[in-house]
Every structure is written in structure tokens, then in C-alpha cells.
């Protein structure tokens, strides 16, 4: 049984590309049960895929399925962030591309690879 640890944060506070493990689930009734049924149980790994264009709702990957939650709903899920190795980070095409552009500038990857190599 995992108890609350000091570094448990709401799932809503993570950014696209972040990964975490679920610590506990608050909320009540049918909403909480639906989350449990979908696999939001203590210890389960969860990944943030992307935010909707107006920043809400948010798409998560849980147990092999992609599930959407509103920000205020994701506040009820407490998680412990897990470090994702930089090379495996994904998280929305946007996040990856932004990091890539920071390093390599604009333009498609294959073109830059050719230019630099």
C-alpha cells in the first residue's frame, strides 16, 4: 500500500511528455469508480500525452489506452513524477519538436540531418 509521500502532486500539474506513477485517487462516487475501472489505481504508470488546443481537457495514456480528463478532474489524482530519459521522451509531437528546434533550429529533421552530416 502506498501512502501519501511528500512529493505526491496532482496529475493536472504535469506537462505533456511527463510520466508518473499514481499514488492515490481522491474524488468520489461514480467518477472515482470509473477512474478505478479504467486502471487509475495506485502504482499504475500514467503519461501525459497532450492538452487540447484551449489547454483543457488533457489526454493521458493509462494502461495502454488514451483517456481524456478535464484539468479539475485530474486534480483528484495524486501522482509521483517519474523521470523519463531524455531520449525516450515523447509527449506530444509538439514537445519533441520544440526541444529539437531548440537544439537544431527549424526545418524538417531529415533535411537537417543531411545538412549536418
Amino acid at each position: 500500500m502506498t501512502s501519501k509521500t511528500p512529493c505526491a502532486v496532482p496529475l493536472a500539474s504535469l506537462a505533456p511528455g511527463d510520466a508518473a506513477r499514481i499514488v492515490t485517487l481522491n474524488g468520489k462516487g461514480g467518477f472515482r469508480r470509473r477512474l478505478l475501472d479504467l486502471g487509475f489505481i495506485a502504482g499504475a504508470p500514467v503519461r501525459v500525452i497532450k492538452h487540447a488546443p484551449l489547454s483543457n481537457p488533457i489526454e493521458y495514456c493509462i494502461g495502454g489506452a488514451h483517456v481524456t480528463l478535464r484539468k479539475e478532474e485530474a486534480e483528484h489524482i495524486l501522482v509521483q513524477q517519474v523521470a523519463v530519459p531524455e531520449c525516450c521522451r515523447e509527449g506530444g509531437a509538439d514537445a519533441g519538436r520544440r526541444r529539437h528546434r531548440k537544439r537544431h533550429g527549424w526545418g524538417p529533421r531529415w533535411l537537417q540531418r543531411k545538412a549536418s552530416g
Binding site: P53, T68, R70
Partner: protein, 714 residues
């Protein structure tokens, strides 16, 4: 050969597990669609014969679990226990096996005779995954079959397994009880013992399952037990005590511990038999989503799809619509010409053909619209649309999925209301159903064009645009009002699965489209027929031949003269006679009766009559006005309806005309919509919907007319 033996199978499974494609492969188009008793959850039945068995198959609603929290889950579990189907097939999406087996475990606990159908097996093996199916079979004590539902692969294997299971039923299955850790297991054993001692309390439900549900705090099972006597109360107390005990011992609560136990059991099982983790099958979907739900491209693409959908509906639908329209016109004309003029022919031509024709004419549009929607749904895009729109719709107290029905409302309220079924919660569904009619449907356009053209000339376009905007504003305000008063409960959480994108199959799309079109025809056609006959009666009776006697006399005289001027006079006199007849019919009387009510809105009694007949359909408003203003819709005797309306002698001011358009916008669109509301929300909400729309229409029109008059616009 012995007589055919009958068999009942039920299909259970998660949403998006391909359950419907299995169902379609089994039954083809031989399906019967209705509602589960007492709820608006779709019930699909199919019938077919296989190897000497008459098989009835029920497609249960797609669920993730079997709790008492959602109607779908209650319907599914009640059916499984009360109706005891011979075999239950659990359609499992093999690509997401862990989450799907979570329901399998619960079905096993429910004690049904189960077949596990690993569907979309092709996708699963394409990822390079392997699963020891024999081992799964032993562990779950249930046959395991692989299928590819949308291509019809493995369906025969599945049915063979069903028959084998039925014929060898004597062999007891090994139902594996799942262990939930010592804290829960001890309590479960104790409760199960108590429940088994009182068999009439639990009926068909397995004792251990009831014990689990008691610990989970299942409201339905608790209610069932609380109706029992002394022994039931002691069991409930015991469960209460045990719940507290587990809470303290595990620093959690039973519902969580049990869910975790199920997932733990599945994880353990899969570790043993799943030789390779499935590769990320969402890879392709993620790439597509990087365009479809892109920060900047998402909305333009979405609106482009919607635009294409509407263009298709109205452009492609218009072609067969023209044919049907011509055919109905030809039929009415031929009948009117061949039948002797009598009450019967009038009933047949004006009542039956006119009424039913007005529904059938829209069938092509509706079919194209449904086909487009089926494509968006089956491909997985609809969930993305909801994802994009939820932020906006949530601000109105609605759900992301409400957007599509509301948008479709601009085309026709009927399919729009039928589309609210995609909404999961009853609250969202009812609320959306109530405000859909405020979106100005295409049938109201003829009224706007007539009135706008008559009173606002070149500014008509702007006025019609204002009317449309007014409808949207009214929908927003009424939505917010109802959300904060009648529907105080929080809107359903946006817990929605984004399924992988899939190419829909033609068969699936066609069955989907046909199913809904058939409902439209059956339900709506029947009602429209009845309503048209009633309306025809109200317009044609009471018969009073003396009323138009002198006019008819004159008509005959003029006909005898036969000159051009005389024939013109004839059509004028005929229009007068028609007007006189309707004026003295029941409908005319009703119009005069409601005059005091509509007078403060600036309406004349003729407008009142047209509003009453407009309940049937909004196009009827125009034709009624035509009859009442002695012109017909077409030009008669050199005077068009537009001119007649504009005639100062009739006393309609532009302000009153605008108020009239607003009234037409806001009150009940048509009788078919009323039927659709009743179907989706129930009789109570149907009356509420009629009442609130009438009240709203009256109040807003009243406000516009009175304030307008005060500030001198009248």
C-alpha cells in the same frame, strides 16, 4: 432432424472493443433496435440460425465494469442475472487486454457461462505480440477464441465454441475466485456464508458477487437487501462494519482495494501468458492526432469536416430529394385528378400524401447525414471532436459531445436529438435535447424568407442572420439557466477514451445508417401520418355547405361566361371560398380563440392559425398563411402572398413581423421533434420542452414588440 433448438447469447464488452462488428457479422441486417425497458439505452437484438440452432443474440451496452453507477452497466448486469442468457461472449480488444480482462473477471464473478473472444486479433499479432491462449483458457475456465470482427474472421469458430459450451454444459467450469488480500477475503467468506443462508434475499445473484458488491457500497444491491427482513439488516450491518474494518486495516477503502485486487490478479495472469508486451498500437493514432488535435490546425480541420458534412447532406441529399418531391407531387396530382372529388379523396391527397410526403422528402438528407456521422464515429474522430470542443461546451454546462447534436440542429432537430445518444450521462443528454430545437433548423428558413422578404426587402439577409444568432444566444442562455437550476448535479466528468483511429467498414456504416433511418421512418412516419390526418380534419370540419353557397354559385356563373377576365375572377373567388372555409373550421376558430393571447405580440388571428398548424412542420406556416390571405402560396389573381402580408389593411407592422419570426424560431419546431424528444428524454420532458419553448417564444416576442413599440419602432 429434431426441431431447431433455441439459444440466447449476449455480447458483453468495453466500448470500442469491436462488439458491434461481431454482432453485425453474426446477424447481418436482421436486427431489431429498441430500448431497454424503462431507460433510453439502445437494445439491439439479432436473430440467425447456425448448425440447427435458432440463435437470438443481444448486444449489451458497452461497459468497462458492472457497477450501479451508470445506467448502461446496470442494464447489462441486470440482463445477465435476470434473463440468464445461455452463453455470454465477452468481446475483448486484444490490443488492450489488461483493461478488457478487468471486465472478464467481473463476468466470471457473476457466474455466467463465458466465452472470451479476443477480437482485433490481427492488430494484436501484427505488433509481434504472443499470448498463450490455452493457458488463458485453463486459468479462466472459459473457452478462448480469436476473431477479427470487422472482416468476419473467426465468427464460425466463435459460434462453434458457443455450441460446444452449451452441449457439454454438464462439465463444470472451473470458476477461479480472485483473491483480494486477507483483509477482504476473510470478510467476503463470512458475508458469502451469511448470504447463502438466506437464498431468497439474493435471488439469482451469486452470493460471493453480492458480498463483493456490498463491500463496494453498491447502491442497488444495498437497496435490494434493505427491503429484506431482520436477517438482511444484520447482513447489511455486518457489511458496514467490515467496510470500516477494511478501511482502517488497509488505510484505503474496499472499493479501491477490490479494483486494485482485480488489476493485480490480471497483471499476475498476463505476466504468465503474455510473452511479449504489445507494441504501442497508438503510434499511428498519435501521428494523426498531431494534425487533428493540433493546437492551431485542430479547429480549422474540425470545422472543415463539419462543413463537408453539411454540404454533403444538403447537396447530395437534394438530388434524390428532388425525385421524391416530384413523385409525391405527381402522385397527389394524379389521385386528385382521377378520384371523384369527395371527403375521402381530400383526406388522401391533402392529409395522407401531403403529410407523409413531407417526412419522406427529408429521408435522403437524413440518410446522408447519418452516414457521415457514422463515419466520424466509427473512425474514432468523433471522440477527438469532443476533445476539441469540450472547453467551450463545458462553459455552457454541457459536455464536449453535445456539440455535434447542437450543430446538426441547424439542419434538422430530429436527427440532432437522435444523435444525443452518443452522450453518456442522462443529464447531459436531456439538457442537450432540450436546447437543440433552439438552433434554427432548415425548415424554418422558408418562413424567414417569406416574412423577411415581405417586410425587410434588401435588409432581409441581415434580419435572417440576426434570427440565427438569436437562436444561438437563446440556446446558450437557456442552457446555462437549466444547468444551474434544473440540472444542478455536476456535469458528467470528461472521462472519455480516445480510441485508436480505424478505417470504418462499408458494412458497418451501412447497417448503422439504415438502422437510424429506419427509426426515423417508422416512428416519425407514423406520427406524422396521424397528425396530418388530425390537422386535415380540423381544417376541413365542421362542414358547412351553406357558408360558401353564394360564392360557389358565383364561381359557376363566371365559369359559364368563360372569358379570361371571368376565369381570373373564378380563381379569386375560389381563394375567397377556401379562406372562408378555414376561417370557420375548427382551426380557424382556434386561431380566433387564441387571438387575445397573441394580440400583445402584434399578431393577427391568421398568424395565430399558422402558428398552430406550424406544430406539424414549419413549412406549413407558409402554406397556411397563403390560404388565409386568399392567395395560396403561388400568386393568385395578380396578388402575391408577400404583397398581401405587406398590405396595410391587414395591419401587420414590420415590428410584429420580426416578433413573428422570433416566435417561429423559438417555439416547438415540429411534431416529429416532439416525438424525438419523447423518445430520448421521456414523456415528462416532452411536455416540459413544449411548455418552455412556448413560454420563451411568447415572452421574447412580447418583449420585442412591446419595447419596440415603446421606442417607436412600431
Amino acid at each position: 432432424m429434431a426441431a431447431a433448438k433455441s439459444l440466447r447469447i449476449a455480447l458483453a464488452g468495453n466500448p470500442n472493443s469491436g462488439k458491434t462488428s461481431i454482432f453485425n457479422s453474426m446477424t447481418g441486417a436482421r436486427q431489431q433496435v429498441g430500448n431497454w425497458p424503462g431507460v433510453t439505452v439502445e437494445k439491439k437484438l439479432g436473430f440467425f440460425t447456425y448448425k440447427g440452432y435458432d440463435i437470438e443474440v443481444v448486444d449489451l451496452p458497452g461497459t468497462y465494469s458492472l457497477t450501479a453507477y451508470s445506467v448502461e452497466e446496470r442494464v447489462a448486469r441486470t440482463y445477465l442475472v435476470e434473463e440468464k442468457p445461455d452463453v455470454v461472449i465477452h468481446v475483448v480488444d486484444a490490443g488492450n487486454i489488461a483493461r478488457n480482462l478487468y471486465l472478464t473477471v467481473q463476468l466470471l464473478e457473476l457466474g455466467v457461462d463465458l466465452i472470451v473472444d479476443l477480437n482485433m486479433w490481427d492488430e494484436f499479432t501484427a505488433c509481434g505480440s504472443e499470448l498463450d491462449c490455452d493457458r488463458l483458457e485453463t486459468l479462466f475456465g472459459s473457452p478462448v477464441v480469436q476473431t477479427v470482427g470487422h472482416r468476419g474472421i473467426g465468427i464460425d469458430d466463435l459460434l462453434d465454441a458457443v455450441i460446444k459450451l452449451v452441449e457439454e454444459r454438464a462439465e463444470q467450469h472451473r470458476h477461479v475466485p480472485i483473491t483480494y488480500g486477507s483483509h477482504v477475503d476473510d470478510v467476503l467468506t463470512e458475508l458469502t456464508g451469511l448470504l447463502e443462508a438466506t437464498p431468497d434475499l439474493i435471488g439469482n445473484y451469486p452470493a460471493r458477487w453480492v458480498a463483493i458488491k456490498l463491500l463496494e457500497g453498491d447502491s442497488e444491491i444495498r437497496k435490494r437487501l434493505s427491503k429484506g427482513g431482520e436477517s438482511a439488516r444484520s447482513i447489511l450491518d455486518e457489511a458496514e462494519r467490515a467496510t470500516r474494518h477494511i478501511g482502517v486495516a488497509t488505510k484505503s477503502d474496499p472499493e479501491k482495494v477490490i479494483s486494485e485486487g482485480r488489476y493485480g490478479y490480471i497483471e499476475g495472469t498476463l505476466k504468465e501468458i503474455l510473452t511479449e508486451e504489445p507494441a504501442d498500437r497508438m503510434e499511428l493514432s498519435r501521428r494523426l492526432d498531431s494534425v487533428f488535435t493540433h493546437r492551431y490546425l485542430g479547429y480549422p480541420i474540425f470545422f472543415a469536416f463539419v462543413w463537408i458534412l453539411f454540404q454533403m447532406t444538403f447537396r447530395i441529399g437534394a438530388i434524390p430529394m428532388g425525385w421524391i418531391d416530384a413523385f409525391v407531387g405527381w402522385l397527389a396530382g394524379t389521385l386528385a385528378a382521377t378520384l371523384p372529388e369527395s371527403q375521402l379523396s381530400s383526406l388522401l391527397v391533402d392529409g395522407v400524401i401531403g403529410g407523409v410526403g413531407s417526412v419522406i422528402v427529408f429521408l435522403p438528407n437524413i440518410m446522408v447525414l447519418f452516414l457521415g456521422i457514422a463515419f466520424l464515429e466509427d473512425s474514432g474522430y468523433m471522440a477527438r471532436a469532443a476533445f476539441l470542443m469540450d472547453r467551450v461546451m463545458h462553459a455552457l454546462g454541457l459536455h464536449g459531445k453535445s456539440f455535434i447534436p447542437l450543430l446538426m440542429g441547424f439542419g434538422c432537430s430530429v436527427p440532432a436529438i437522435m444523435a444525443t445518444r452518443t452522450l453518456e450521462s442522462r443529464r447531459d443528454r436531456t439538457l442537450t435535447t432540450l436546447i437543440v430545437p433552439l438552433m434554427s433548423c432548415s425548415a424554418r428558413l422558408p418562413v424567414y424568407l417569406l416574412i423577411g422578404g415581405a417586410f425587410f426587402a434588401e435588409r432581409a439577409g441581415t434580419v435572417v442572420f440576426v434570427i440565427y444568432v438569436l437562436g444561438i444566444v437563446a440556446a446558450i442562455l437557456i442552457g446555462r439557466l437549466f444547468a444551474s437550476t434544473l440540472f444542478r448535479s455536476a456535469p458528467a466528468p470528461f472521462v472519455m477514451e480516445l480510441p485508436p483511429y480505424r478505417l470504418p467498414t462499408a458494412k458497418g456504416l451501412l447497417i448503422h445508417t439504415w438502422e437510424r433511418s429506419r427509426i426515423y421512418l417508422q416512428k416519425m412516419g407514423g406520427v406524422i401520418l396521424a397528425a396530418s390526418v388530425v390537422l386535415w380534419f380540423l381544417g376541413a370540419y365542421p362542414q358547412n355547405p351553406g357558408l360558401t353557397e353564394s360564392l360557389e354559385h358565383e364561381i359557376a356563373e363566371q365559369r359559364a361566361i368563360g372569358s379570361v377576365a371571368a376565369l381570373e375572377k373564378v380563381s379569386e373567388l375560389e381563394a375567397d371560398a377556401a379562406a372562408l372555409r378555414i376561417e370557420n373550421s375548427y382551426i380557424g376558430k382556434a386561431g380566433q380563440f387564441v387571438e387575445p393571447v397573441i394580440e400583445p405580440l402584434g399578431f393577427r388571428w391568421e398568424m395565430g392559425v399558422s402558428l398552430i398548424t406550424g406544430f406539424v412542420a414549419k413549412e406549413v406556416v407558409v402554406s397556411t398563411l397563403g390560404v388565409l390571405y386568399h392567395t395560396g402560396v403561388e400568386e393568385v389573381s395578380g396578388r402575391s402572398l408577400v404583397e398581401a402580408l405587406r398590405d396595410p389593411a391587414n395591419g401587420i407592422t414590420p415590428l410584429a413581423a420580426f416578433a413573428f419570426m422570433v416566435f417561429v424560431l423559438l417555439y416547438t419546431p415540429c411534431i416529429v421533434t416532439i416525438v424525438a424528444v419523447r423518445r430520448e428524454a421521456g414523456t415528462g420532458w416532452m411536455w416540459f420542452s413544449i411548455a418552455y419553448q412556448l413560454a420563451l417564444a411568447w415572452l421574447v416576442s412580447f418583449g420585442i414588440y412591446q419595447v419596440g413599440t415603446l421606442v417607436g419602432l412600431g
